[in-house]
């Protein structure tokens, strides 16, 4: 499918009639539409979805341009319309959707008629409307809605695509296969063999003549019964498989939550360990503080008195009283001589007031205990002792304070770590109840698996029984000549069906492998790391890495997810470009696939310059037709790479909040 033209009439900010033409030239297949944010990039993408599927998800509901709406007088109406011209499997289609708005006499704007029409160009060259019954499904045939989000590549949705999960993706398998052309085969198989009432084989079986042959009649009825039952069982099997997978997914989700909680347990342990260390450090700090206190209490006076000590020493050094008196003699002796004896030991008379008396009195001063020489000597000793004590005081206290500060910082560091951990832990769920949920689900899963096995067994035996009956019926029927023809037709139908089925299976496998390979090749051209995309059964993909350290699958950056989604889509589109053919089976002609365009809105919004250039290099080779709506700043990087493939550039010129004009740039 290739887009040819897009016409918008009064659609949101695109006032009046605005047209964009898309070239489908082989070498110039890129159309670029430039626009800054809020100029209408997203609206343009959404307009495709509205025209094709009637879906809108704008915040303000009205599609009618605001300016036009304001000018609308009571009693008048205005139209909003969108028209897409495209080519699908060789036929030109014109798809048009219209919505009328009407202002009533109360001044309210109301919705009126909505019209949707599809025209196609006939082989004679005329445009002819498709009738109602055809119109309903045609759009989904051209571009299934499920897959539309892959082709209208909405920059902001990429993250959700990137986190692809089973639940949304069941339809993708069918849709992908449809796009890649397996649909025809699948449809043929359905018509040939599925449903015993409506299928070719079923109907042919009915045509077998059973008259006059009671046994044949009985067997045919039994065959029908069993076939029906087999169908029901096949349905039940599918249903059970779905339910089991959904339960398993739930279990997976819950286990992630529990693991989160394991993180919590880990964090709690960390916190506890930190607290232990904090306690220890606090104790050490206490000790150091006490040492500090002791140092202050005991030695601070010595420190502070340092400058006084030298002066004091000088003061007593110059003290003339070196005289320690007379060895062996104390003041008591003089006292005795003066007071008691009145006579000196030498015999002299001592009279009060005489020179002798005064001399003796003077000498007494210098004798113990009245002499202070000893005291002064002690004093001098104390001075040097205190000098010594005071010298080391500063270094000691300095080191203690340093240690205290260091420990303090360490404690603060740990406390802050703990705070962070605590914050992380907030709002985590309760593991106990989660684990119970998991147990319950696992029980349910077991129960279902048992059921599934029973069904599979029954399916197996029924299939055998049905096949056996079929053979018996054939044999019995063959006895009736009338049935020879029908049986022959049945043979052909069954043979062709078998061939189709096995071919389908191998094609499916081939396509899946090719898709995985193609996607990876594109992925690796854009992203130079150690990761690979692995496709699972229903086309979900996983990003794995062979590099064990890089394997943090929960930790993918936004840019990486963008690149992965883009690669997946580009892979699908690229395959659709090719014809997949099976060289082993010459009986079946090529499955036809047709090219698809890639319409991208802000594909580069979360990637860096390098990725932008890499993605740009890949684009021309991926899709038959590419339409990019991007911001000028991103275009700057992509321009050099894409200039040669460029067919047209448009710019979305935002005139006002409510008006944007799309103009071609020459």
């Amino acid at each position: 499918m290739l887009l040819k033209k897009m016409k918008l009439e009064n659609f949101r900010q695109f006032v009046g009639e605005q047209i964009i033409e898309f070239e489908t030239n082989d070498d110039k297949n890129i159309t670029v539409i430039l626009g800054e944010n809020t100029s209408g990039k997203t609206t343009l993408i959404k307009s495709f979805k509205w025209v094709l599927y009637g879906k809108t998800d704008f915040e303000t509901k009205s599609l009618l341009n605001t300016t036009v709406s304001e000018k609308l007088k009571p009693g008048n109406k205005e139209n909003v319309a969108g028209e897409i011209e495209l080519v699908h499997r060789g036929t030109l289609y014109v798809i048009r959707r219209e919505q009328t708005y009407f202002r009533n006499n109360y001044g309210e704007v109301k919705l009126e008629n909505a019209r949707f029409s599809v025209q196609h160009k006939t082989s004679e060259g005329q445009l002819k409307y498709l009738d109602k019954s055809q119109v309903i499904n045609i759009v989904n045939k051209i571009l299934p809605e499920d897959l539309s989000e892959y082709f209208f590549f909405h920059g902001e949705q990429i993250k959700t695509i990137g986190e692809n999960r089973r639940s949304g993706k069941k339809n993708i398998k069918e849709a992908v296969e449809s796009l890649l052309g397996l649909e025809t085969l699948d449809s043929a198989i359905t018509h040939l063999s599925r449903g015993d009432k409506t299928s070719v084989i079923g109907k042919l079986n009915k045509e077998i003549d059973v008259t006059d042959n009671e046994e044949l009649d009985k067997k045919t009825r039994l065959y029908e019964e069993k076939s029906q039952r087999l169908n029901k069982i096949k349905n039940d099997i599918e249903e059970n498989k779905d339910i089991i997978e959904s339960f398993e997914e739930q279990v997976m989700d819950i286990n992630i939550k529990i693991k989160d909680n394991m993180e919590t347990k880990k964090l709690k342990t960390e916190i506890e360990n930190n607290n232990k260390i904090i306690e220890e450090k606090r104790e050490i700090k206490e000790k150091k503080i006490n040492e500090f206190k002791k140092e202050i209490s005991v030695n601070s006076p010595m420190f502070f008195m340092q400058p006084l000590l030298d002066r004091a020493l000088k003061m007593v050094d110059n003290f003339e009283e070196i005289d320690e008196g007379i060895p062996g003699m104390e003041a008591k002796a003089i006292e005795n001589i003066i007071e008691k004896r009145g006579k000196c030991i030498c015999g002299c008379e001592i009279v009060e007031g005489s020179e002798v008396y005064n001399n003796l009195k003077e000498i007494k001063k210098y004798l113990p205990p009245e002499s202070i020489g000893t005291i002064v000597r002690l004093f001098k000793k104390d001075i040097s002792h205190n000098k010594f004590k005071g010298e080391n005081f500063y270094d000691k206290t300095f080191n203690l304070v340093k240690e205290i500060r260091t420990i303090d910082n360490e404690i603060k560091e740990l406390e802050s770590q703990n705070d962070n951990y605590s914050d992380e832990i907030k709002n985590k769920p309760d593991v106990g109840s989660l684990e119970k949920e998991v147990r319950d689900l696992n029980k349910k899963i077991q129960h279902r698996r048992k059921k599934l096995n029973q069904l599979l067994n029954e399916e197996g035996s029924l299939e055998k029984s049905v096949n056996d009956l079929d053979k018996e019926i054939q044999k019995l029927a063959a006895e009736n000549e009338k049935n020879e023809f029908i049986l022959k037709c049945l043979d052909y139908a069954k043979y062709i069906n078998d061939k189709f089925e096995s071919h389908y299976k191998s094609l499916e496998k081939e396509i899946k492998n090719k898709l995985e390979e193609r996607t990876n090749s594109i992925f690796n051209k854009i992203y130079h790391g150690n990761r690979d995309l692995i496709l699972k059964n229903n086309y979900e993909y996983d990003l794995t890495t062979t590099d064990i350290e890089e394997d943090k699958s929960l930790d993918l950056s936004e840019g990486l997810k963008t690149v992965a989604s883009f690669s997946f889509i580009a892979g699908i589109v690229s395959l659709a470009k090719e014809k997949v053919h099976d060289t082993n089976n010459e009986e079946i002609s090529q499955v036809d696939t047709e090219p698809y365009p890639l319409v991208m809105d802000a594909p580069f919004s979360d990637t860096d310059e390098r990725h932008v250039q890499n993605i740009s290099k890949v684009i021309p080779n991926v899709a038959e037709q590419t339409i990019m709506i991007i911001m000028e700043k991103d275009w700057k990087y992509a321009k050099n790479v894409l200039e040669d493939e460029l067919s047209k550039i448009y710019i979305m010129d935002k005139k006002k909040e409510t008006i944007t004009h799309i103009k071609e740039v020459n």
Partner: protein, 170 residues
């Protein structure tokens, strides 16, 4: 000389309690008693006896144990205080010889003034008069005490952080 119970009174009692009981920077009131006169004399802070209900006692048994330290401080300050007693010989006598008498009592009272002045000085350096004592954390008090020590260390060692050689300016 120092053998009786020493009693701090009035605001000085409160200050001593703040320093020892609250700030927990000293092991005993006695340690404050020993340090205070040194700083009082160094900074020229003298303070009169204040009456008041408050009291902080250092008991005789403790005094006696450390009496030599107290005596040393008394002697040191007394021989150096030229303002109080200009005559050197007199100073020396008051410091070492006299154990009683008028002169002795005078010098002792002088010493006590320095004790009180020193208490005020230390208190002022550890606590800010506008801030409620209760709000100080242990860490802050330690820092304040150490800052005081550092201040003096700079003065003693003449090593300053200013990066200028003041000698150039002179």
């Amino acid at each position: 000389m120092f053998e009786k119970t020493y009693t701090f009174q009035g605001k000085h009692a409160q200050y001593v309690k703040d320093l020892k009981d609250h700030a927990n920077l000293f092991d005993r009131y006695l340690d404050v008693l020993i340090l205070a006169p040194v700083l009082g004399f160094l900074t020229g802070n003298k303070s009169k006896l204040e009456s008041g209900n408050q009291s902080a006692k250092v008991f005789a048994e403790q005094i006696i144990k450390e009496s030599d330290k107290l005596e040393f401080n008394y002697q040191l300050i007394t021989i150096l205080d030229e303002e109080f007693c200009p005559d050197k010989t007199d100073r020396i006598n008051r410091a070492f010889r006299y154990k009683s008498g008028e002169d002795y009592e005078e010098s002792l009272e002088n010493f006590n003034k320095y004790i009180r002045g020193g208490v005020e000085y230390i208190h002022g350096k550890i606590f800010d008069k506008d801030i409620d004592i209760k709000t100080y954390s242990q860490d802050e008090l330690i820092e304040n005490m150490f800052r005081l020590i550092e201040e003096y260390q700079k003065d003693f060692s003449e090593k300053y952080d200013s990066g200028i050689d003041v000698g150039d300016l002179l």
